[in-house]
């Protein structure tokens, strides 16, 4: 398949009071059309930074991103983002949140009735038709994230960027949403970059897993092809030898090759709870990522 998105020698430095901090160094990545790629790595390795550079929210210090033959230098709806904490406007209903995006993207291209149908279609895709006139405060975390996905899909992006989309959800809700995402992906075949800290999620959803080395100066460590046939079923895969082998490969990379000793004692601690509310850390055996560092990066940026 043709390359849709290409990151070439991407490096980024942040100015901090202690001097420059090089978060990413020489990241190279090619993503084909229709491919689902996961980025996985330890906290502070700059996964979110990579995503934000692709989104155009951050600018690479050197190197660049080319999408469909054009250089990325500002954010835009063709690179829609699903944010970790849903980022819905709290004063708008689910429908209105999607409408805001659709009105902006389809201005002059769709009639009013077409827009309405398109908004409803996208909410239907994520199974939110029953609650589309509710505000974010009236629906659960998983439902909010569904609306966030509907909003991103409604922009008809060339690349869908997902920044730990299910990171703040409990294990059961997370599984439901993963299944929904696989279902949507089967129908739409979007090009997706997803950041995750969940090994099972990465293996279940992805065509390729990009494993990143530890920061500072993080870069792409290994790339693992996930050649499991689709449709994938989480229950069947649990006993599948190849699935477990792939899972093991990711774990080996994270825990042996890129072991990050100092981070483990903090894995269930304050850094996480500061960013997400009621994160059920204990329920996730493969949590390897803490967002604190990336948040710091954002503040610097």
């Amino acid at each position: 398949m043709a390359t849709l998105l290409e990151l070439t020698q991407v490096s980024i430095e942040f100015k901090t009071p202690k001097g420059t901090f090089k978060a990413l160094d020489n990241v190279n990545l090619k993503i084909a059309e229709g491919e689902f790629v996961s980025l996985i790595g330890h906290s502070g390795c700059g996964k979110s930074t990579v995503l934000n550079i692709v989104a155009g929210l951050l600018h690479a210090t050197t190197g660049g991103v080319v999408l469909d033959g054009r250089e990325v230098n500002e954010p835009g709806p063709e690179r829609a983002v699903v944010f970790q904490n849903h980022s819905l406007l709290p004063w708008l209903t689910a429908y209105q949140n999607v409408e805001l995006a659709v009105k902006e993207v389809a201005r002059g291209k769709k009639s009013r009735a077409e827009m309405k149908a398109w908004i409803e279609h996208n909410l239907e895709l994520v199974h939110m038709s029953h609650a589309m006139h509710k505000r974010p405060s009236e629906i659960s975390g998983g439902m909010k994230q569904r609306v966030g996905i509907a909003r991103a899909l409604a922009m008809e992006p060339k690349v869908l960027l997902m920044d730990e989309p299910f990171g703040a959800l409990d294990a059961l809700t997370r599984a439901h949403l993963q299944d929904s995402l696989m279902e949507i992906q089967r129908d739409l075949n979007n090009t997706v970059i997803m950041i995750t800290h969940d090994v099972d999620e990465a293996v279940l959803l992805s065509d390729r897993i990009v494993m990143m080395t530890n920061g500072p100066s993080a870069t792409v460590g290994e790339i693992l092809d996930i050649d499991l046939p689709r449709p994938r079923n989480r229950l069947q895969l649990a006993d599948d030898a190849h699935y477990n082998h792939l899972r093991h490969e990711v774990l080996r990379f994270l825990y042996e090759k890129q072991r990050k000793v100092d981070d483990f004692p903090a894995a269930g601690g304050g850094a996480k709870s500061a960013t997400t509310v009621a994160e059920p850390v204990d329920a996730q055996p493969n949590v390897v990522d803490i967002k604190s560092h990336e948040l710091k990066n954002r503040e610097v940026a």
Partner: protein, 330 residues
Amino acid sequence: MVISTTSSRFAQMRELKLGTIASNLLRDLGLPLLGIAIFLLVWQGAASQVHTSLGQFPGPAQVLVQAKGLYAEYREDQEREAAFYVRQNKRNADRLAEDPKFVADAIRPYTGKPTFFKQIGTSLKTVFTGFLLASLIAIPVGIAIGLSGNLYSAINPLIQLFKPISPLAWLPLVTIVVSALYATEDGGVPKSYITSSITVMMCSLWPTLLNTAVGVTSVSSDLVNVSRVLRLNWLRHVRSIVLPASVPMIFTGLRLSLSTAWMVLIAAEMLAQNPGLGKFVWDEFQNGSSDSLGRIMVAVLTIGFIGYVLDRCMLQCQRWVSWDKQAVQR
């Protein structure tokens, strides 16, 4: 057996419910009333100890008498006013009956001395004018400096400099400038009204300005990112993201501004001789009759009560407008 236990449990629950209602009633109604009663007693006791050149300081009872007196004056004046217009109309009608070609002059307005209640009306009108002007300036400027760090740096020293200035310091300047720029012909808006409105505006600007700026700066960066991904233009960014997100803070500022405006107004009216509550207090002070202290006390309590009502109204507006019902404080 089962039925009897259930019914007795219901009775228990009912008793419990009645108990909570009673205790709630005590807390919500009983305790405030008790507080007021104690205050009145202390007031009465303290007032009886204070002897002034205008006689004894008025206690609650004397103040109530003066309040009734003021109301009676108001009713009397209303009757007089009505009679005044009736007389005018009758005279015109009579003239028309004598001479069919007679064209009546415009009805002359009543020229009686403004009563206490009319003065309340003037005060409210003045305070709303000043508050409205202040809001019209403060909200847009607040949004602008909240969005642009550079603009904030440029304007912040000025805000800090002008914020602590008392209305009394502004008033002479405002009076002179208004006199220079605004020449009243008869029937126009009185100068004193403009002077006090502008003074109110200059003092009540700051809480709204600063709170709006803080509200705008603290819009979640995630929402700003949503706006960037959607490439919302400046106007749409302000209208669909910034403004709704900072509505709770804007209203906190507006509430503070309105109470500042009301406080400033009284001082401004005293000096500007704008016919409002402040002038009423000043006139009574100058008048120096044995009733004066009681009448001033009525005005003081009225000022407090109106201030309270204004704040409640703003709170209600905030509740209607705000999407975040938890952010609305008491």
